[in-house]
Amino acid sequence: MSAEHRRLEEARQQNIPWKKWGPYLSERQWGTVREDFSDNGDAWNYFTHDQARSRAYRWGEDGLAGISDDQQLLCFALALWNGQDPILKERLFGLANSEGNHGEDVKEYYFYLDSTPTHSYMKWLYKYPQRAYPYGDIVETNRRRNRTEPEYELLDTGVFADSRYFDVIVEYAKASPEDLLIQVTIANRGPEAAELHVLPTLWFRNVWSWESGAVKPQLRAEPASAGIQAMRATAPEHNDVLLYCEGQPTLLFTENETNTQRTFGVPNRSPYVKDSFNDWLLHGQKERVNPALEGTKAAAYYRVQVPAGGSQVLRLRLATKAQAKPFDASYASTLKARLAEADEFYGSVIPKALSPDEANIMRQALAGMLWTKQFYHYDVDKWLEERGCDPFNPQRKQAPRNDLWHHMYNGDIISMPDKWEYPWYAAWDLAFHVIALTLVDPDFGKEQLRLMLRERYLHPNGQIPAYEWNFGDVNPPVHAWSTIFTYRLEKMNRGAGDVPWLKSSFQKLLLNFTWWVNRKDRTGRNAFEGGFLGLDNIGVFDRSSPLPTGGYLEQADGTAWMCLFSQNMLEIAAELALHDPEYAEMALKFLEHYLWIASSMTHLGSDSGMWDEEDGFFYDVLRLPDGRAQRLKVRSMVGLLPFCAATSFDGIVLEKYPEMRLRIRRFLVKRPEMRQNIHDPALQGVAGRRLASILDEHKLRRVLARLLDEREFLSPYGIRSLSRAHAEQPYVFKAGGQEYRVGYVPAESDSGMFGGNSN
């Protein structure tokens, strides 16, 4: 067992807090729904990047290469200034959704180079220009460009010309669960010596301003010793934490509180506010930092000269126990040991068949996943109350979103899609993240799936929250798929699956399955709606809004996803039935449910079902208020999704329960129409396995013919989400005197229908 595997086991079995500290700081807290208290719900423009340096956040924090504890009480990150920028670089800059010609986009270059699952070793790289960062140019040039033009990137501005930039590399290594070594290496890639101002910053998330009677934590300077400066963080919720800083940096102290003068035009209560270090360093306002050397935000200010092509190293240490010699020889040897252990860990995770280059790619990809964990905090009830939308007040205002999700309290470490572009969880993306994360940390993977089904997340009606922009949106039901996949991954790696976890997940997934059946199958005929459904499933209309024609859509993708959901529930029930006979009945129930849904896709109304025999493709069906029905013949990902609903079964559970075999046979004999147009589940394949699939061989060949046709879906870069055939033949639909059109556009869509950042 590798040292990192041992740490994972210690965290699991003995609650040793190896994961207490991690990269849980977001890269963007501004412009999020959580921080938006506007009446119109314009989150991007309510709390902007420009405000972020001055205005205290309500629900979280952000920073560069940041870490925090798992409740994000105390945060650490880097701040930088190249002597040219108009503001201190405390967070990544990017365009808001309305500013970018292709939606929101971070305009910085940073890389997650390494991380172990307990974050015992982490490495991060940021490329910081020596010239002034072109904030205005990036905003203005992107604003002038339209959707058909490429984005204007930082590299295009010329700011990196002659390699005049710094590589800022941050490494973290844990000497023990609550003793972190922090090494910052600054490499000057330019042709001349250059100076960099570096401010490793420690601060408390502001929780005291918003609750009456809350105790304010405190940071204060410790007596200096030879060649070392230190500060102490004291808070009622945890043990004291010390930050040791090698050398003689200047210690700066202020408060993580709003600069009300700059933000609201109301004079500050105190000169020590969130953006004091910016004004102290860039504007020489010495009175803005607290001479008493105490506050809730502190930094160690280093002024570093770096020769051309050379580098400088800064060393810090964050620990709960006092260190007599924080930078003795053990510092370097521990850092080296943690890196060697990371090598050892990945040596056991990455398949030996991969080339060194491929192995590096896999390791860095996993590092990216691990760095993208974030403390996500959102108390929806409180949030509604604070904006005057208390759900139990008869005089309440209507909230622009999430009005019906006041049961939700989120305050957990969650894997984000991206900590800058999407610093909020997306439940269905998360189901896929979990598969990759389970490769290195099954406990974290299972915990993520468990979270979404907990009473603090799952709606009382059984719906899984989608994402903060609209928790009530409908995303594909892939949670059961992820659950059985994760269970099997762990079983394969540990030799045994976690049956209690699987049982508990199954119970909650039943609630979610029932929500789908009761809410999204309007007529009870096993044909499902769902709306946008989150993928690049281009439609004629915005499928999440009322249709301009009236009526409703029976969605090929929604129905295919539900078919897969049934199959996954069948798989879980069959696995559980091996341990507990109670679940055999449930396996049978989901087998029947699968057959009902699959057969409905293929035979529901011979001339208006989703399957189009003439085209050999699945389409959405528009059901109009007057009873007419029409296929919407857009060949898109929507029609390819029925491929996904294919699952093979080994039949072990039937050997254990022979009566089940009889009951299945009886059902199939009694309802021959069920398997008439789908793959016959009674057919045996290799090793006696059986296949549950919507597509029989005939349909499979027909859809594959389009999928593998370069004039349709197959491109040099993978599978297109829309058939190329629609370049010459756009799909046109006329309703109410208006024309709706879907045409093929390579790469990103020219439609703003989904916020400009989809498709």
């Binding site: 301003s209 009300t260 004079p267 500050n268 005057g388 007040n393």
Partner: protein
């Protein structure tokens, strides 16, 4: 203070005068000066048009010392 009464309080900023303004549960307006214990030092103010005021999130209530 019960929760229903609390949510009837509205906080605003009057940027022109550089002060906070609070509408209490009875619909009266109060100007709050900058500084500590702002609520304790509140003064009645005459607001005829709320349009000139910018709403401030409810979580600033504690910051301003409003009970």
């Amino acid at each position: 203070m019960d929760r229903v009464l609390q949510v009837r309080i509205a906080i605003y900023v009057d940027r022109q005068r550089g002060q906070w303004v609070v509408r209490d549960g009875d619909g009266r307006f109060w100007a709050l000066p900058a500084g500590d214990d702002a609520w304790q030092r509140r003064q009645p103010c005459d607001v005829r048009d709320e349009d000139g005021l910018e709403p401030v999130p409810g979580h600033y209530r504690s910051l301003l010392g409003i009970p």
